[in-house]
């Protein structure tokens, strides 16, 4: 079932004889724009990246939700999907990529490896046990690997989160009410 309220442009139209004007809140319009044009960074370290590519293809088509502009440069991206195992040697590189992204920026931890180290949790000298040791994560999506549908769900969840942000101050709008 489609929640139509989420799809509507967040403004009220006031008709006047010579046209009309829109009344809206700055937060609403900024969040509407941000959440519907998230540009993911092209970043994949293992098999989760294959599922991420599938989510971008014609069958699942993440363009429908505004993710189609995958960027090869962190300076043009505002979302990083950490798709795959992060090893100790990769961690500083990932941190650097994250630091190079302009604010506001968001992180999705995709798959068991990025959440906890997954199958590499025990008896390993090389794997980072959870990407949240390196960068702050907005949405965790479990699976090994998660299906493209699961990834789409996590991205839509992230959009929901962005829609509850406030531009001035850090309060969550849902809590403030």
């Amino acid at each position: 079932m489609v929640d139509t309220e989420k799809l509507v442009f967040p403004a009220q139209l006031h008709q006047t004889p010579d046209g009309g004007f829109l009344v809206t809140q700055l937060d609403d319009i900024i969040n509407w724009a941000r959440s519907n044009s998230l540009w993911p960074l092209v970043f994949g370290t293992s098999c989760c990246a294959i599922e991420m590519m599938s989510a971008a293809d014609a069958r699942h088509d993440w363009s429908r939700f505004g993710f189609e502009v995958a960027r090869a440069s962190p300076r043009q991206a505002d979302l990083i999907i950490v798709a795959g195992t992060i090893v100790m040697k990769m961690a500083p590189v990932l941190r650097r990529l994250y630091d190079q992204m302009p604010d506001p920026k968001y992180v999705i931890a995709m798959g068991a490896c990025t959440i906890s180290g997954g199958p590499f949790f025990y008896n390993t000298y090389s794997v980072v046990k959870g990407v949240d040791h390196v960068i702050p994560v907005d949405v965790f999506i479990p699976g090994c690997p998660p299906r493209p549908e699961a990834l789409l769900h996590s991205m839509i969840t992230l959009q929901e989160k962005i829609k509850h942000e406030t531009y001035f101050g850090k309060d969550n709008k849902a809590q403030a009410k």
Binding site: K89, Y122, N123, Y125, S126
Partner: protein, 151 residues
Amino acid sequence: MTNEEIKQCISEILPTATYDETGEFLTIMVSKEELRPFMQTLRNDEKFLFEFLFCLTCIDWKTHFMMVYHLLSRKHHHNIVVKVKLDDINQPEIDTICDIWKTAEYLEREVYDLFGVKFGNHPDLRRLFLDDNWPGYPLRKNYVDENMISI
């Protein structure tokens, strides 16, 4: 050549070698000192012509290390495994074979990186995957890492 013929030929050039045929490949055990001239012969002799070293690795048996070399000949379509026992458990050393097979240069660096086997006369013996200041050698059985969670 068949495994039997290879054994026959090797016995002529190196009588001290011992054999093990329980695995997939014919395995020849040689001593550390005999390795280099033996490998030279395997590489260059027209009978053997093992021009491809397709795997070089090491095994930690706790009491000793075992170097393992997988060799293949494209011309004769035969392959063998050469094993060398290294008795020093703390500072294992062996001569490099990277002048015989160039590919051994990187493979030996990997073994040095993860097992800490020192290769004599290696032109560039540095760590390959890990940081230069990484403590210890992770694939050794006695490796300790306080961040590692074991079950």
